[in-house]
Amino acid sequence: MQVDPRARFENYVVGTANRLAVAAARAVAESPGAVYNPLFVYSGSGLGKTHLINAIGNHAQQRAPELGIEYVGLEDFVQQLHAAMAAGEMERFKQRYGRVDVLLVDDLQFLTGRRETQSELLRLLNALQGSGRQIVMTSDRPPAEISDVDERLISRLSGGLIVDIGAPDYETRVAILREKCEERQISFAAGVLEELARVEFGNVRELQGALNRLSAHQSLDGTLTPAQVRSIAGLPEPAAPPARTSVQTDEFFSFLTDIASAVAAHVEPWKVRIGEAVAYWSGEGYRTSALETMMSMSEAPPNYESLLRGYGQAVEQLRELERQVTTVDARLGGSDLFRDPERLAEATTFVQNALAGAVPPGGPQPAFARNGFEESAANQMAVRAADVVIAEPGQRYNPLFLLGPTGVGKTHLLNAIGNELQLRFGAGGRVACVSAQLFIEELIAALQEGTVERFRARYRAADALLIDDVQFVGSKERTQEELFHVFNHFHAAGKQLVFASDIAPRNIEGLEDRLRSRFEGGLVAEIGQPDRPLREKLFIRFVADARLSVPPEVIAYLADRPATSVRELMGTVQRLRAGLESLGVAATLATARQILEPSGMTPSSAPIAVRQAADTFFLDDEKIVWEWPDVAGRLVEELR
């Protein structure tokens, strides 16, 4: 059966009695299968279960047209089931329902006593729920009170969220009547709807029936007055003052009647409307100063109806904005900004900013400055490329792929580029500079919280993206997928991308071709191990940083020592410093040697020195096992 397209959330009047149910229904419609599965709505007859469940269907369909959505009343379900059985087409029946993404079952109370249907429904629920599909059911009573139903089915039904819808209160009744009148484009004299709403209908259908009668009468007899309402609608007079025979009390009641008509004559309906709105929205926590100003006017603003509607729409928008922003950061919700429809524009900008990256991805670390990066033949190409990138971000080398072994300054250079770009963009610009591990972690967290959209938005909002240790995305398919999209976005927008890795793109294991080719599409700049001139420069810097006074010949000595990474150079300086301090001597060539080359030996002669000093046994190379097999291997050896 088709979902009724007329039943939408927009024309579902929300009051205190159904707020929870509507909120749950909306949540379900926004992300079917993710929350409250199954959702079970129960209420007395005619309170809007069917409307609500259809609204879920419509809303979900609107948001995701590809979803298969099936609405079925239980009676129809039973009939279809029986027909399928009779025709021997149970498989087709099962397949048909097994395919739906959102199953909406109405009037579940008719399950009573139908074993066959119950077991089929149980099977279907298991299948659908197991594959993460959404189920919404309604009934006129809670699951536990549907008699003669399989325990397993009851527990299944109760497993998600059970909400009820109560009878509408006066305000909601008025709202429903107005909504209906608007829908059918009928209008009544002031006070007529209010008078009708005053009758405590326990059920919206009856309310509609009474409205229909009024509208039919009005079309025959002309405009109705509030006083005629009850007689036409065939309703008893209001809480008929118990007929008292005593003259005494009559006096009071005639006074009361006079007061009532005086009040009715003097209380302006438009003020009542606005007052209702003020009371309602301020009760909901919204600022109503705009409405209150309107109320202090001596005459009704000509367009107050549309102003009221506009206010309601603004509130709706605020709610939506708040919902969006809480997906980014729950703490941002509840802000006063979302409580004042007059500040809607402000709130919109706020949310846009928040979504785009009020919590932006990490930026470059300020400690890595460009002028702290020494240049030499080993890293010249990379540094030049970096300077070009800084001068013309996104123009020449996009992406710039920094490649080099560990500890040669890739991270330094990457962050230095980031810092310079940040400086160039100024306060308004955002440079995202993260390690690939962080990128992956954030993506996983976003997947877990269902906030991938926001994850993307954050990164896309940046003006430049720098990712360190990008080799880690290898074999991470989902990350590569996201990185691919982010990459394309940046590249298309002419925003700079910089990557650093210790493995060349083509050698990163499990890196998809589409990413590899993109990484290589810009400039792959290699940073080599520090050469002598670089080592010398770096030593001068490090020694100065360590506040050591070291004569040039010691620097030259230090620079002569081979090193594979900048980190190693730092280590050397640290050792030198510690040694000088413990010995309490000044740095000379001799002391440096003494500290860095224990026993005063040159590095090349050190192994020989060990051999000489130790037992002659070790002199026999054949007896020295340089590489021991692993423990298990040795054990096996021993057992033999």
């Binding site: 006096e251 009361l256 009040v263 003097h266 003020k271 606005i274 007052g275 001596s298």
Partner: protein
């Protein structure tokens, strides 16, 4: 005080019965109280001396139920009539939405009536209320007394009601005129709703 609160959907009227001592203000309230059906009766508060003279004030809350969707409450107060309770009178008069001036129809009380009526105007003025804007009705009470003891309504009207406000002859002890008076003042008070005076929502 706010008369109509659109936000909480309440109408609250404070009506003060004013007049010289022993003119029958409390009797008015007692009669009204007696007419209220049991299920609607609030508690009448009467701070009276041992000799049944109003010491401080009487207070009769009248809950009229829901009228046009508004919870309507009338609060009827009386002031002590004796001259030396001036402070109390001012206090009770504060925030009044309407005033019923209960005059004693007895010939020998005419001077006191006039004095009290002037006193009312003085007190209102002192509270910054323009007496001409305050809803006011006059009741000539004790019209049941022998004709030789009282002044006819026309003469009382000439003497007291120089502002030509609605006036009612009454016999508060037995009832005639009591509700007419209350209705008269209510009508005046409620009429101010549409004038917009006092019809501001409670500030939040």
């Amino acid at each position: 005080m706010s008369l109509v609160n659109y936000a909480t959907r309440e109408i609250t009227c404070k009506i003060v019965y004013y007049g010289p001592g022993r003119s029958g203000k409390t009797t008015n309230l007692h009669y009204i109280y007696g007419q209220v059906p049991e299920d609607r009766k609030g508690k009448m508060v009467s701070l009276a001396t041992q000799t049944d003279r109003t010491l401080f004030f009487d207070f009769l809350p009248l809950d009229l139920g829901s009228i046009s969707g508004f919870t309507t409450k009338f609060q009827l107060y009386t002031v002590p009539g004796q001259v030396y309770y001036q402070t109390t009178r001012r206090l009770v008069l504060q925030g009044a939405d309407g005033v019923v001036f209960v005059a004693d129809s007895q010939t020998r009380q005419l001077a006191e009536n006039i004095e009290s009526f002037q006193d009312l105007h003085a007190n209102l003025a002192e509270q910054g209320v323009d007496p001409r804007t305050m809803p006011l009705v006059v009741q000539y009470n004790k019209q049941d007394l022998p004709k030789e003891l009282i002044l006819p309504v026309s003469e009382l009207s000439d003497a007291i009601n120089f502002r030509d406000v609605p006036e009612f002859a009454a016999d508060a002890l037995h009832g005639p005129g009591v509700f007419e008076t209350l209705r008269g003042i209510s009508e005046l008070v409620l009429r101010r709703l549409s004038a917009g005076a006092g019809a501001t929502p409670a500030s939040r």
